[in-house]
């Protein structure tokens, strides 16, 4: 499909990634992930003592997520995002290595231009690596939107998210080809959904390879990494 979208991208083209790591002094790990105008900062504190001792888990570490939007107070929508991100990260962090502790991940959205949950999860992956927390593998996330004309846009902007028929946030890990987290809203047919899964898997793989590149570059010396726009063949 060669129809162009509003910003000139192809249907299955993700926006350019940019990232920075170790921005904050006090946090154990931090990273900022930007996709054009969507930008999220993730800060990781952990493993630390559990603040609320009733929530303490004896055999595992407790994962706490806090999501603050760019404007306004946290609403129930943000609470839902927190729970989704928390479950996604809980599946890749090796929590059994730090029993009775807490790993806090705090997100601050700088600007929201669509695909913000995916941006946050990708930022969290980088921040966790920066903090040196043991993980099973890497995690990459991408958002898809399904339009009324049955086309699929990868990594939609906020405008495209409003106009689409349904929206899906999906996260894959680097270890296996199974889905770590998925949430869809809106109406879409089952065939379209299952057809789009390989597409999203490929996109998440691209994100994961970018994350690996970013960490490698940082260890080798350069502080921030850019990459040009990546395209995925459908």
């Amino acid at each position: 499909m060669t129809n162009t979208r509003n910003d000139g991208r192809l249907n299955n083209q993700i926006r350019a990634f940019e990232s920075e790591q170790s921005l904050l002094n006090k946090a154990d790990g931090s990273a900022r992930f930007t996709q054009n105008k969507s930008s999220v900062l993730a800060a990781v504190y952990g493993p630390i003592e559990v603040k609320n001792s009733r929530k303490q888990k004896i055999l595992k570490s407790l994962i706490e997520v806090s999501f603050t939007p760019s404007v306004g107070n946290t609403t129930y929508l943000d609470k839902e995002k927190e729970l989704l991100i928390k479950n996604a990260l809980e599946s890749i962090i090796l929590t059994t290595l730090h029993p009775r502790t807490q790993i806090s991940i705090i997100f601050q959205v700088f600007s929201d231009d669509g695909s913000i949950i995916s941006c946050a999860i990708n930022a969290a992956c980088l921040a966790l690596l920066d903090a040196g927390i043991e993980m099973q593998g890497l995690i990459g996330s991408v958002t898809l939107c399904y339009n009324h004309d049955k086309s699929i846009y990868l990594d939609p902007t906020a405008q495209e998210e409003k106009e689409c028929k349904s929206l899906s946030v999906i996260a894959y890990g680097s270890q296996s080809s199974q889905i770590i987290m998925n949430k869809t809203e809106g109406t879409l047919s089952m065939d379209l959904y299952f057809k789009s899964l390989p597409l999203s898997k490929e996109a998440c793989d691209k994100v994961i390879s970018y994350i690996k590149l970013a960490v490698k570059n940082r260890i080798m010396g350069t502080i921030s990494t850019n990459t040009t726009s990546t395209t995925i063949e459908s």
Partner: protein, 270 residues
């Protein structure tokens, strides 16, 4: 045996799951007895009460008039859903602050309702639509035994279909009169059929009870409408899930759709 259940709940469950049965006698795919009744609350303009096994949920809808919002989207902006999980339903929840689970579920229910495609004219208070009806849906859980999502979705769709709004007349541009003799319902042509699963160690259980939810490593909720289109898919958990399991879950839900449709329809007739 009760001591064993309390000390090693996972071991206790594993012994049952290996023989493809659950402690309450159900097989892994069996759903608990579901019942829906509507219209119990006369002060609300629409209400329903759903019971899945021991989980009971009551839903009431209140209507208020207001001026139309200026947003011009296809999505519904007239219905607001709120789910309350209070201490009345279980000893885990506190009353002082709304639990995160309640907020997250409210958000999912709101997103479901936004895409129900109810024609705008249904919300007109008067003939021209200068003033609109706004519906506030409140869902209270009265007894929590797992699978609150299914119960809430069924309660939501049943009570929306049960809504009766009076005709309105505006006089002198700011006097609103409601004609309670003539009531009309909303045109809701769609249905929502939910099914939730819990995954405990590679075993997939449909319609989990409270104890099964606590032992589970992952949770999956899917909702289809009557055209077999996916309205909601939410998977989150500690272990990843494969596509085949997702496809099997959709098949299981398809088998249940006829039964759920008959439940929702028969509840409307009373």
């Amino acid at each position: 045996m009760e001591a064993f259940q309390k000390i090693h709940p996972l071991e206790f469950y594993r012994k049952f799951l290996q023989r493809s049965v659950r402690p309450d006698g159900r097989s892994l795919n069996d759903i608990r007895k579901t019942s829906i009744s509507t219209g119990a609350i006369t002060t609300a303009c629409g209400s329903s009460f759903v019971k899945i096994g021991n989980t009971s949920v009551i839903c009431g809808i209140r209507s208020e008039v207001g001026i139309p919002s200026f947003e011009n989207t296809d999505q519904q902006t007239n219905i607001f859903v709120n789910l309350e999980l209070g201490p009345i339903c279980s000893n885990i929840y506190s009353s002082t602050k709304p639990s995160e689970q309640a907020m997250s579920l409210s958000s999912k229910l709101n997103s479901l309702v936004k895409r129900l495609d109810i024609p705008k004219e249904d919300f007109y208070f008067d003939q021209e639509g200068k003033v609109l009806w706004y519906l506030y849906v409140d869902i209270y859980c009265l007894d929590y035994d797992g699978n609150i999502m299914d119960a809430s979705i069924l309660a939501l769709i049943s009570s929306l279909k049960n809504v009766k709004l009076p005709r309105g007349i505006i006089e002198n541009t700011n006097e609103y009169y409601k004609d309670t003799e003539q009531l009309r319902s909303l045109q809701i042509n769609h249905y929502l059929f939910p099914l939730s699963f819990s995954i405990i160690e590679d075993f997939i259980l449909s319609d989990p009870s409270n104890q099964e939810e606590q032992l589970s490593t992952s949770n999956l909720t899917i909702t289809l409408n009557e055209n077999f289109e996916i309205c909601l898919l939410s998977y989150s958990g500690i272990k990843p899930i494969s596509e085949t399991i997702l496809q099997e879950s959709f098949e299981k839900l398809k088998n249940r759709i006829e039964y759920l449709k008959s439940l929702i329809d028969s509840a409307q007739e009373h």
